[in-house]
Symmetry: C2
């Protein structure tokens, strides 16, 4: 069932089926999204006809899928790529690919080329494909934005009308894509929706060097019996959602009636506002004092400074009203991690 892409013809009268394109399919969220699509065999209540999974490295095949899947390596910043991917006229496009915040800051050209240039190339390719189709082609486009579009100083609770004043190149690139997404949608080139994801926690896999890495590490590592360092005070608050919720947001966005969004096409996703202290309490409840004792406390001023510029609490009213749902406590986030990553109890 591999490598046949969208070449399978839709049988006449088969009814509505979907072709799906996932760009950024090898990332942590992308992999989980592709596995879920493969498992469900459907999206937004319609059977999946075929899926194309793309990333800068070839994504792995989902473990099972009863529709053809093509997994390929492409750089979305290369000019031939977006037109090629869109020529297959996918009905739903998930754009998850991005250079992460730290790299977009250290490599200015690469960040703009991929996070802005790649998205713009995709948007333009869809517009071109619509013209080629005589106006008939108008896919759903689900774009992952980030709470990095917001920059300090913040009010205590950030509502849906708060303005975008990013303080990083990554946040700037995401905010620009939100503006483009709204304009291209308003013009009818595609039906776009942007999802500002919370910090994803608990991230599986080895510790990474992202400034936000400790939020996951202080849960994941002790649950595996390993030490983790906490570089900030327990009073630090942040906005979290599980990988499972993130995949849920993407699936929900693919099926949503976007007319309700009007011209404001990007939504802050719901999440859990938790202090580090509350995270630790949730860990204690699940895994006991022995797990908590694996958390070392070595302050890191550089990380403290970065984290101080991050938002911590949102009122995600619009998204909640549209049916987006996340966990309601950090304990649930830990529970989702243990279930999804098959992590047993510590004790």
């Amino acid at each position: 069932m591999q490598n046949v892409g969208f070449r399978r013809r839709r049988p006449e009268g088969e009814g509505r089926v979907l072709k799906i394109l996932v760009i950024g399919a090898a990332g942590m969220i992308g992999r989980k999204l592709c596995e879920r699509l493969a498992r469900d065999g459907a999206l937004a209540g319609k059977p999946v006809e075929a899926a194309h999974f793309v990333d800068i490295v070839a994504p792995s095949q989902p473990s099972s899928a009863d529709f053809p899947t093509t997994c390929e390596a492409f750089d979305i910043a290369a000019p031939y790529v977006a037109p090629k991917l869109v020529a297959e006229r996918p009905d739903v496009v998930f754009l998850l690919a991005a250079v992460v915040s730290g790299e977009a800051e250290s490599d200015f050209d690469k960040g703009y080329a991929i996070n802005l240039g790649g998205a713009r190339a995709l948007f333009e390719a869809i517009r071109r494909e619509q013209r080629l189709s005589g106006g008939a082609y108008r896919p759903r486009l689900v774009f992952t934005s980030s709470i990095a579009v917001f920059g300090a100083p913040f009010p205590e609770i950030i509502d849906d009308d708060f303005f975008l004043t990013p303080l990083t190149s990554y946040g700037t690139q995401k905010a620009i894509c939100e503006l483009l997404l709204a304009d291209y949608s308003r013009r009818g080139f595609f039906d776009g929706v942007g999802l500002r994801l919370p910090t994803i926690c608990v991230r599986p896999g080895p510790p990474n060097r992202a400034a936000s890495g400790f939020f996951s590490a202080i849960i994941r590592e002790p649950l595996a019996g390993r030490e983790a360092n906490l570089p900030v005070a327990e009073s630090v608050r942040h906005w979290h959602a599980s990988p499972r919720s993130a995949v849920g947001f993407l699936l929900h966005a693919a099926g949503l009636d976007l007319a309700e969004l009007g011209a404001r096409r990007s939504l802050t996703m719901p999440g859990v506002c938790a202090s580090v202290g509350e995270q630790i309490e949730a860990l204690r409840a699940v895994a006991g004092e022995a797990a908590v004792k694996l958390i070392r406390r070595q302050r890191d001023e550089a990380i403290e400074r970065i984290v101080a510029g991050w938002p911590s609490r949102f009122d995600a009213r619009r998204a909640l009203g549209l049916g987006f749902a996340a966990e309601s406590s950090f304990a649930e986030i830990i529970q989702a991690y243990r279930e999804d990553e098959h992590v047993g109890s510590f004790a």
Copy 2:
């Protein structure tokens, strides 16, 4: 004194002098800015060494200047242009060039190519020139944004924290440039400031077909003894500043200490909130009932609909605090028009 550009060497020890680049120098505001620079011979308290005036058509030479001026036609969207202009290392760059709102809406490609592509090309050229200079080159960049970055629904008064939700491609392009301006400034590539201009009123010259044209026409045409049509109700409110104020904003921005701006580099400019009825009263006070009788009242639903989506009143507190100043009444706006355009009294 023509066409010698920046080739004149700065004599050693002459002290601080400025090279100026104006992109969009043939437009209504651009022309007035260049005339003013020529008249003043100085900017931000420093003598002007040379000026380069550029537009899609060659700008006319200012009537007098005691520094060399070069007037040339270039398309800022052409890839060779920005590097060429910036290679002269102007100390102050005014970026006024833009495809107007109506054209950016009807010609999607052209609007993005010039309003976004042209600005980005300039920003990148400056970044490149900074690298070539070993980091020494870091010009002041004054960018004209627009209140079109805002989109309905609006609060009664729009403050400096209101979010950018443009409802036109033009507004989207300006909002994106504001984000880029902030990020490039934050990174130290240039010292940028964006000015969101009010609707400029009274525009001299023949009536144009812009939806906003009537705001000027109902003053300008009766003052010249000609009829003008009012396509909306007298209750319609809008945000105005004179061309003289617009030039004042640009000059003030060139000399401002931008450290106070922090990361939020774009400012809503002050203006006069006037209803059409108040505009007409101001006309009556200056030119009497005979002038007011030249205003026809033929409603135009298309224009009414467009204007209904425009903002009408701002609290431009940040800009006022930084010393930007506009007229304080519509009568003053008419007075500025009569003085600057040598329009006599009607009676």
